[in-house]
């Protein structure tokens, strides 16, 4: 496998006696988009800040493109973008001036800076406000400008802390597309968010944090409850109530490929192999059992259920 773009090893961050993050390890490769979820105080922001080299570690290591973030900041930072939960901006500058300032900080040439500024102003729907003072922008616009700041240097690794907070519904939809596009460009991303439905849509991986620890980590399907990438949950709705449903499902219950079978009057849920061939086979078996199948589809992994299954409530 190719070298990880971001590698976190046994991360521990302690504020005095309070352990904010404890023993966290993960790796991100090109095209990975990790969604970080957990209650407030779970250690998400600390993890992101530590991964960006902003938070001193008690123990552990963070490597970006093979470089230690704490030892080679000027090299690493060429490839790293970080959006904090509160947009960091200079209120007295205009939108365009601010992005020019960032371009200078990253040593971009005038031509390249001009091109990228125009690109991100356009893509983040700020082109019309480029002459506006930042203090005059709404919360959502400031958030978009903070994202533009992060993406302006074209980083390989992008870390975002609650980036969708403050965005309107249309903005959220566009933002989801933007993240998916960044992922497809081969960047490695970590995004923390409380909007689990959004995360399920664009993330490749999910990490659930609680009390500073990584409670679950894996692909979206793995975390959402599917045992593996090869298995899927199927939902079958019958055209009418079937009285002897249990008897008709006896053969399926005996089938080793079927698991987690549940049924109730006109609804059946079960887990079976994910591929299309297996789906066709399952449908054939259901029809062979004399069941009037009206709807037959796989169920998207349910992150909310997975999150609640971890037993996490609000951290005190």
């Amino acid at each position: 496998m190719a070298e990880a773009l971001l590698s976190i090893e046994n991360l521990r961050v302690q504020y005095g006696q309070l352990v904010a993050v404890d023993g966290l390890s993960c790796e991100l490769h090109a095209g990975h988009l990790l969604g970080l979820i957990g209650p407030n105080g779970a250690g998400k922001t600390t993890t992101l800040r530590a991964a960006a080299g902003l938070q001193p570690l008690t123990t552990g290591r963070v490597y970006l493109l093979g470089h230690d973030v704490f030892k080679n900041a000027t090299i690493v930072n060429q490839h790293l973008g970080f959006t904090p939960d509160t947009p960091a901006l200079y209120d007295t500058l205009s939108v365009e001036q601010f992005l020019w300032f960032i371009a200078r900080c990253y040593g971009l040439t005038e031509g390249l800076a001009s091109e990228r500024i125009d690109h991100w102003l356009e893509n983040l729907w700020l082109a019309e406000r480029k002459q506006s003072r930042i203090s005059a922008l709404s919360r959502g616009m400031k958030q978009r400008l903070a994202v533009a700041r992060t993406l302006l240097p074209d980083p390989h690794i992008v870390l975002m802390d609650e980036p969708a907070a403050g965005l309107d519904p249309a903005g959220r939809v566009e933002f989801r597309k933007l993240l998916a596009s960044l992922r497809d460009q081969g960047k490695a991303l970590i995004v923390s968010s409380h909007i689990l439905a959004d995360l399920a849509e664009y993330c490749t991986h999910i990490a659930i944090m609680g009390h500073g620890r990584l409670l679950k980590y894996g692909t979206v399907a793995e975390v959402a409850g599917a045992e593996s990438q090869e298995r899927a949950q199927y939902r079958i709705v019958l055209a009418r109530r079937v009285g002897d449903l249990a008897a008709r499902l006896q053969d399926l219950q005996a089938d080793e490929a079927v698991s987690h079978l549940k049924f109730d009057a006109d609804l059946i849920t079960l887990e079976y192999d994910r591929d299309r061939q297996a789906a066709a086979e399952l449908l054939r078996k259901l029809i062979a059992a004399g069941l009037p199948v009206a709807e037959f589809h796989t169920v998207s992994p349910d992150l909310e259920q997975a999150y609640l299954r971890t037993g996490i409530r609000q951290v005190d």
């Binding site: 005095g16 023993g23 008690t58 123990t59 900041a73 000027t74 930072n77 007295t92 200078r104």
Partner: protein
């Protein structure tokens, strides 16, 4: 334009538009022109024509002084304050993190903060420079005293003084920047220093001549004397010494700020940098002590307090020695904590325990040299007493025990206390200052209130290492009693540090289980 420091570019935009800055500079110039013209006009009305050249020369000197003071205010107060406020603003808005996340080098960021925020102060300084040049030239061209010096020499002296002021301002701004980075811009060091300057700065300067040298008081006096009279008020070499010290300290502060910028968990000074600072500070104290007798205009009244200057200089050295000592203690703590998680080998950090020994050794050397150069105005017997072997042994023991205790206290506080620095200051005040204060209070109560003879004087003072320094040539028993107590305190601090280290080890046990 893209090569301009980004933070300078930024502050050229956020400290006001070009029009605003031109307006400020013009308004300031107009005020100077108005009042200067008025002062010359009033003089012309009230002074007979034959006396006017001399009066005008005096008015030029007054305005030259006003311009110099204004420049000092702009460069030493407004400029550094702007640096601190910029750091505080960027901490509060998160922009400092943004700079840390950029590929800009630490030095580029630090230089950006040193040059960008004070832009308006520098502008006003430049306006004052133009007017100051005019007043200096007018004074030098006038017949009499000014004319005797010559325009070229006066202007040369004026611009040389500007160079000295810029060096001092650079050192001061670098110090403010460093403290602002360390305290997130919350500690208003400019204000604190101004307060100290107003309420106790004079005493600090006369009792620690090295401070007068570093702060440019001695060289400023020499330069002003050169500008306004033909007499040299002191040693002209002092200007070079002060400049060299200020430049070196500026470099040290800038290096420390660079180191602290992306590593907020690190001590203010790394161990090597702290030791360098200590050596430079020691040189400044020695040079100041050596130069002091030549500056009667400053130290004349305090000639009989030569021993107090000596002790105060050693105390000033001990205070600065806490920086490398603190760095070593914090490094050892971080090392031990990482080792408790199995991240680093334990043995490597043990060398840091040599830091108190090293600090004590340098302090003893400095004290010895201070005693060698300092008390030439004391009697022969007093000088011999200061350099007696038993006195030396006592001082060396007190300094070693003091640094050893400080080192281990800081280590323990880092492990046990949420705000170790504040706790350490309390410990410092208790161990070093309280015995002296208590002794003074008891002496006052017994002698002044009860009107009896106090025979126990010095016993409480001796408990503090500062007390040992004060008492050494005289109170023998009090010194030895004090040293035994200091030894007991040092043993206690060591035991506490050992306990703190075991406490760190518990993390490992908890993690393993």
């Amino acid at each position: 334009m893209m090569s301009l420091n980004p933070l300078l570019w930024l502050h050229l935009r956020i400290t006001g538009s070009a029009r605003t800055n031109v307006f400020i500079a013009t308004a300031y110039a107009a005020i100077i022109i108005l009042f200067a013209s008025l002062s010359f006009y009033i003089a012309a009305l009230n002074v007979p024509p034959r006396n006017r050249p001399a009066t005008f020369a005096q008015i030029n000197v007054v305005w030259l002084s006003i311009m110099t003071v204004a420049q000092g205010v702009f460069l030493l107060l407004l400029g550094p304050s702007a640096v601190r406020r910029a750091i505080q603003r960027d901490f509060d808005t998160g922009m400092l993190d943004s700079h840390r996340l950029s590929p800009m080098s630490n030095l580029k960021i630090v230089l950006g903060y040193l040059t960008g925020p004070p832009i308006q102060a520098v502008l006003l300084y430049a306006v004052s420079l133009v007017f100051g040049t005019y007043f200096a030239a007018s004074y030098a061209a006038s017949p009499g005293l000014g004319g005797a010096i010559g325009v070229r020499a006066t202007l040369g002296g004026w611009y040389f003084a500007q160079g000295c002021m810029l060096l001092l301002a650079a050192m001061f701004a670098a110090l403010i920047l460093l403290t602002a980075i360390a305290t997130r811009g919350k500690a208003n060091v400019v204000g604190i220093l101004a307060l100290i300057g107003v309420f106790g700065g004079w005493f600090a300067i006369v009792f620690v001549p090295g401070l007068a040298l570093v702060l440019g008081v001695l060289s400023g006096g020499v330069l002003f004397g050169l500008l306004t009279s033909t007499k040299i008020a002191g040693d002209a070499l002092t200007i070079v010494n002060a400049g060299a010290l200020q430049f070196t300290l500026c470099l040290i502060f800038v290096t420390a700020a660079c180191g602290k910028l992306r590593k907020p968990e690190r001590p203010l000074f790394s161990l090597p940098l702290g030791l360098t600072l200590l050596i430079v500070w020691g040189i400044a104290l020695l040079a100041g002590m050596h130069a002091a007798p030549e500056y009667d205009w400053l130290f004349g009244e305090w000639r009989e307090y030569r021993f107090a200057q000596l002790v105060a200089s050693t105390i000033a050295f001990m205070l600065v020695a806490l920086l490398p000592l603190g760095a070593a203690a914090i490094n050892l703590f971080h090392h031990d904590r990482a080792a408790s998680f199995g991240e680093r080998p334990v043995a490597r950090s043990r060398l840091l325990l040599l830091a108190p020994l090293l600090a004590a050794l340098t302090a003893v050397c400095l004290d010895l040299m201070l005693r060698a150069v300092g008390p030439e105005q004391l009697s022969r017997a007093a000088r011999e007493a200061l350099l007696h072997r038993s006195v030396w042994a006592g001082i060396a023991a007190a300094l070693l025990l003091s640094f050893w205790t400080d080192f281990h206290c800081l280590y323990s506080l880092k492990a046990f206390v949420r705000r170790p620095m504040i706790a350490f200051l309390i410990v410092l005040a208790t161990l070093k200052g309280a015995p002296l204060a208590l002794d003074g209070v008891i002496k006052f109560c017994v002698e002044e209130v009860a009107e009896r003879n106090w025979t126990g004087e010095g016993y409480l003072t001796g408990l503090s290492p500062i007390g040992t320094l004060i008492l050494t040539p005289r109170a023998g028993t009090a010194v030895w009693v004090g040293l035994v107590t200091q030894l007991a305190v040092a043993i206690g601090a060591t035991a506490l540090a050992r306990r703190a280290r075991r406490h760190l080890g518990k993390h490992r046990v908890a993690q393993d289980s």
